[in-house]
Symmetry: C2
Subunit: 540 residues, 2 copies
């Protein structure tokens, strides 16, 4: 076995060769932090191509596939297979020309995939050096479904080693930065998708979400993203982390520049009957009644609940301001807004980590020991070596009996949370319980590298299996978002997060929020996100 | 803490006192094996009451609640609360009188419940001495749902200690026998329900099924029963075994004397939106399209696959004969019948036991150690003491990491089995994959006590999460079901099962089969069971 660094060098060389030569551009200088406009200014794209990359998914789908990847920062990509994609695009063009019909609802849509969705003949490393050279002999189920729907996968995108970080750095492909401010993280674990889609390098990307990995990079990069319920989108055939864990499950979800794109993706995938290809996919058709909010008063006079903080970490000023913007917009649009009282969020976060950590160290060690690559213990820029040295996995994890006790506690809290939600019927004024919760996706906008240290604003909804959509509201504004006076801190950690805030440091970072619905209510969550989006637009 | 036998004596005394004095009858002599007609002949019931107890659920529901429990063998009961039931029945009568409306779709239906469905103010022991005296402070979710639907719970029924046996014997309530032949078991773990419903002591009972516990007693007692998919019927708030295990989950299902009763129960429960009360209940409405077999050619020219044996244990002659009866009946009704090729059934059984046994010994020991009651290690009549002495739980089970590896293997086999089913489309002649599998519920009819030693004909469908209905076909007939010549045995265990068969020993035992569908396709499974049932009736 060669040294792991030799494996990486060989892989990087192959990756470089997979980029068409004529697309290599000179990157902006290191001092340019905001590179979000670079695709339009680098000279690689003509006016028509720029128009295409700025077109939302639902509009784009009325055209044939003709866009190619435009990203300048290869660090957001892992596998590049534009050659295959162009062959497929040509096939689709021919099909349309010969039959006058589209192949499916995603006909011709270029689509980027997080680096865990196996594609026949390609490697899937999830950032592990040990998995370099492991070529998939079949597609993940979702890849098959997307291709049947007419989509054209063309690149895969970066992740953190193990997938179990909310930023995107690994020993194989390096680090993905935030296109709006390269001193900030693009989030994780679908951080490559976040950066690529924000740069208009892909109209729609597929991320996975075990604890926030679709929503955090969507929020940090200013995108729309959805974390569906377990099994609504097929997961089988992807590489994962903590494989065999049957409790808090990973799910795939779309990341894109419009809520219309989220809907197009979900409707196409669900209508493809994924339960005939993945035994964990839920047999539940796309439900137009649920999309039309039949269980929510047909969408008139909705009652949203705003969760201003989760009782553990108080959000930074830009997040608070974005909640106020949404509240005002919804009220202006005639909807009712109440406050959400979070219960047991701290415990839910702890329990979820206990479940994953039941055997995570063993899982990571067994994988990395093949090549001896170091297990990454921090996402910080500088002291990675020190952190690696200090990483000591738990010895052997816990027993199955201990795991069952934690899982039982989680079931009890899920029930308690459900009852808590149902009990809001008495305070909404609609006769129904709260229709959706609106809350931060994180207590901060995109953080400096290594500082995204609190992810329970997303994890709790994974633990409860509630679908949650991310939508953009504003960007950090140093005038409007000055540092707040100290509040009564919940604890030292809350104080640390408070002290991290500095309007200059977070400059230009997008600010997004989450809309949270009930289990398997994806249709309603999408519709309500459209309603919030329209209210924000109308209130501008 | 008193000695465990003292706790049992006190509990039995309280149980006896809960039986209305005027209902105590002299039981038949021990030499009377078939007691199935005893309720009609014991003199306790008048002609009208006998008529009522012989009425199927759908017809009964057109009348008001007026039947009371009629069982003669108290060993099938655990908790008896007829007084409460009569109060509730009177309330329902009043409601109907005053409003002209029924409370819900199960208005007035007396319903019996397996002894794990907690009811406020009652004990729930699942056969553990250690749980005597533990009174529930709230109803299980399903109990609430059933009461809201108008049903009247009136008794709870016997189970094996730990629930993890396919017969029904425990240290608290003793043993439940088969009403058609008391030398045989009524099965388990819902064996109390099996005996009670077969005796017409209840028109409909609720059992739970982790590995066959609804279907085995239904099959052994000649009933219709359904094992729904995970989460279709709410489970929360019941006591279970192996609590916190999140992988192969227990489900509740109906046991009754007609397939119409199965439908009435399922439709009522699903339409009650159980997902608003149980966070693990699937948000999926009762689907009339699925019931009308829209995905199965609207029910015309179906293609059934018969699994004659599972490749591990060859079924006894009466089971084989029942499969032939069904095949002939379906062909006569115009349906196509092909053979089902089982794959990996042995491995599926082993994996499922590995998952449950990851911590089962620890779970059982921790519970029984409170009182020191012995852990039961056999369901045999005679050598229970010896078996108890020889029971040595595994020491500490396995680690969480080991458990995840088994669970991962199971996910892979679920996918393989799904693909296997889909691939049958080329051999059905309908253009569709096989519509349903018909197979034994066990390789034998009800066995002598302690001899129900092979349950993988039911377990595999739990492991795959396929809904499965049991329906009666015939009874063991010593003339038609003579001993077969020895076949090429799969192994010594298969030979043991072969040698167990003796037409005299199994005399009068009901013979039932299973109809198996796809995950979350309960509506279609019920409709196809109706079709099979009608075909059997028509072919008689």
């Amino acid at each position: 076995m060669p040294h792991w660094t030799a494996l990486v060098a060989e892989k990087k060389q192959r990756q470089l060769e997979s980029i068409p030569q004529e697309w290599i551009v000179t990157p902006p200088s290191d001092s340019t932090l905001d590179v979000s406009a670079f695709p339009e200014t680098c000279g690689l794209l003509n006016a028509r191509e720029i128009e295409i990359t700025n077109t939302p998914v639902n509009v784009l789908l009325e055209k044939l596939a003709c866009a190619a990847w435009t990203a300048v920062d290869v660090n957001c990509l892992t596998e590049i297979f534009v050659d295959r994609a162009l062959v497929r695009a040509a096939e689709l063009d021919d099909y349309l020309k010969n039959t006058g019909k589209v192949v499916g609802p995603l006909h011709g849509l270029p689509i980027s995939l997080k680096d865990l969705l196996c594609i026949e003949g390609l490697e899937t490393t999830i950032g592990y050096v040990s998995w370099i050279g492991q070529y998939a002999d079949k597609n993940a189920v979702l890849v098959d479904v997307l291709i049947e729907c007419g989509a054209v996968p063309f690149v895969r995108t970066n992740v953190p080693q193990t997938l179990a970080w909310p930023e995107s750095f690994n020993n194989v492909f390096g680090r993905t930065t935030n296109p709006y401010n390269r001193s900030l993280t693009s989030g994780g674990s679908s951080g490559g998708e976040g950066a690529l889609v924000a740069l208009k390098g892909s109209p729609l990307g597929v991320g996975s979400d075990l604890g926030g990995s679709v929503r955090i990079p969507s929020a940090f990069c200013g995108l729309y993203g959805l974390r569906p319920s377990y099994g609504r989108v097929p997961f089988y055939g992807a590489r994962g982390t903590l494989e065999g864990q049957d409790s808090v499950l990973p799910v795939f979800g779309p990341m894109t520049n419009s809520v219309a794109g989220v809907k197009v993706f979900m409707k196409a995938v669900v209508n493809a009957k994924p339960w005939l290809k993945d035994s964990l996919a839920v047999r539940k058709k796309w439900d137009e009644d649920e999309y039309n909010l039949v269980d929510h008063g047909s969408g008139k006079d909705l009652c949203f609940a705003i969760m201003w903080d989760d009782g553990v970490v108080v959000p930074h000023p830009p997040i608070r301001r974005s909640l106020e913007i949404v509240k005002a917009g919804l009220q202006k649009a005639g909807h009712n807004v109440v406050d959400w009282k979070p219960i047991k969020h701290r415990l839910l976060g702890e329990i979820t980590r206990d479940i994953w950590n039941a055997a995570s160290a063993e899982d990571f060690m067994i994988t990395t020991s093949v090549t001896g690559e170091p297990i990454i213990a921090t996402m910080e820029l500088d002291d990675a070596d020190a952190a690696v040295a200090s990483f000591r996995p738990q010895n052997g994890g816990i027993t199955a009996y201990q795991l069952w006790q934690v899982q039982k506690l989680r079931q009890d809290i899920r029930k308690e949370y459900l009852d808590h939600w149902e009990a809001t019927a008495c305070e909404t004024g609609t006769g129904r319980p709260v229709d959706a919760i609106i809350c931060p996706a994180a207590p901060f906008a995109a953080t400096p590298h290594g500082k995204n240290r609190y992810v329970d604003y997303t994890i709790v909804w994974n633990a409860l299996d509630y679908p949650a959509a991310v939508f953009p509201v504003t960007t950090v504004d140093s005038t409007l978002d000055g540092k707040a006076p100290p509040h009564a801190f919940y604890d030292d950690f809350d104080k640390d997060i408070y002290e991290m805030y500095d309007p200059e440091k977070f400059k230009n970072a997008p600010v997004c929020l989450q809309l949270v619905g009930r289990t398997l209510e994806e249709e309603a969550v999408i519709r309500m996100t459209e309603i919030v989006d329209a209210a924000l637009l109308a209130a501008k």
